[in-house]
């Protein structure tokens, strides 16, 4: 895999983006603070009424954790899928098939339990 190419193009894109932004700043000028309202956050036109303790729902955390778990399970399926036909040809087909299906049964049970327990209900 061409690692040098990936690093080269990453550096190139960063420099490209940086130059683009500097160019825009050069031709457009930095914003001057003509009034406080200009530099405030957009809130549909009214003056900013931001409370100090806006809480964000915990469901984002649950979604992210469950995503990690199922992502790991999907990652385990990739080498199995890439070599499934090889395994069948080399004679270990049933063994690999059954072992992955047991794993998938646990996965499905986890998914079913998580759906049934309404852990991801967004109201």
């Amino acid at each position: 895999m061409p690692l040098g190419g990936v690093i080269f193009i990453t550096v190139f894109i960063s420099v490209f983006g940086y130059i683009l932004i500097r160019l825009a700043r050069l031709t457009g000028g930095t914003a001057k603070k003509t009034s406080q309202a200009k530099f405030d956050i957009y809130e549909c036109g009214i003056p900013v009424e931001e409370k100090k303790d806006t809480k964000i729902s915990i469901k984002f955390y649950l979604t992210a954790i469950l995503f990690i778990l199922f992502d790991i399970e999907i990652i385990f399926m990739y080498p199995w899928a890439a070599n499934f036909k090889n395994f069948i040809v080399s004679g270990a087909g049933p063994f690999v098939f059954v072992s992955m299906f047991i794993f998938l049964a646990i996965f499905i049970f986890g998914l079913w339990w998580e759906i049934k327990s309404k852990a991801l209900e967004w109201d």
Binding site: M1, L3, A64, F67, P79, A82, N83, A92, W113
Partner: protein, 181 residues
């Protein structure tokens, strides 16, 4: 200095810069982004060791799932106290310097050990040739996983199930946010 050597030193520098950023930055979200840099660079090091599938998995799981969780959770909090706590104060400053000192000690120790090991081996070739190319290829990896470690593999599924149940249970425990009473 060959291209491989240059690549290794560049990536190693990126990893250590990211790790130092985690420890030394005042804003926790900047620290988390430093850790993302570390993870991506470690994936790149896997590529130089010719473990391509593992590099992809490192990107998908570590840099794409675990660190997203970290950054999302950090944004749930009000971080003004954290930022203030780490920008001033002598005890905090001493803790910062102490952790950098420990890290430097680890780095120096790694260097010394590598030098000794290198002398013992007798300068045997470049980095890529000492790595076993059989580790990264997919077919031997799959064979190793599904034939030699089947039981651990199934147990891992059960472990992930336990994590899922535990997380939901924690958020429903007494005083938690999804408390049911």
């Amino acid at each position: 200095m060959t291209a491989d050597t240059f690549l290794f030193w560049f990536l190693a520098f990126a990893i250590i810069a990211g790790a130092l950023g985690v420890v030394l930055m005042t804003n926790p979200i900047h620290s988390a982004l430093g850790l993302v840099l570390t993870m991506v660079s470690v994936a790149a090091i896997f590529v130089t060791l010719q473990a391509y599938f593992l590099a992809g998995v490192q990107l998908i799981v570590y840099a794409g799932a675990v660190m997203v969780l970290f950054v999302m959770v950090l944004m749930l909090f009000d971080l003004k106290n954290e930022i203030q706590a780490f920008s001033r104060g002598r005890i905090r400053g001493a803790l910062k310097i102490g952790s950098v000192g420990i890290l430097s000690g680890l780095i120096v120790g790694a260097f010394a050990k590598a030098l000794i090991a290198n002398q013992a081996l007798g300068a045997k070739g470049s980095l890529a040739s000492t790595a076993s190319t059989a580790v990264g290829a997919i077919k031997p990896l799959a064979e190793n996983l599904f034939f030699n470690h089947v039981f651990s593999f199934e147990l891992l599924g059960v472990l992930l199930l336990v994590i899922a149940v535990g997380t939901v249970a924690l958020s429903r425990s007494k005083g938690g946010t999804h408390d049911r009473n």
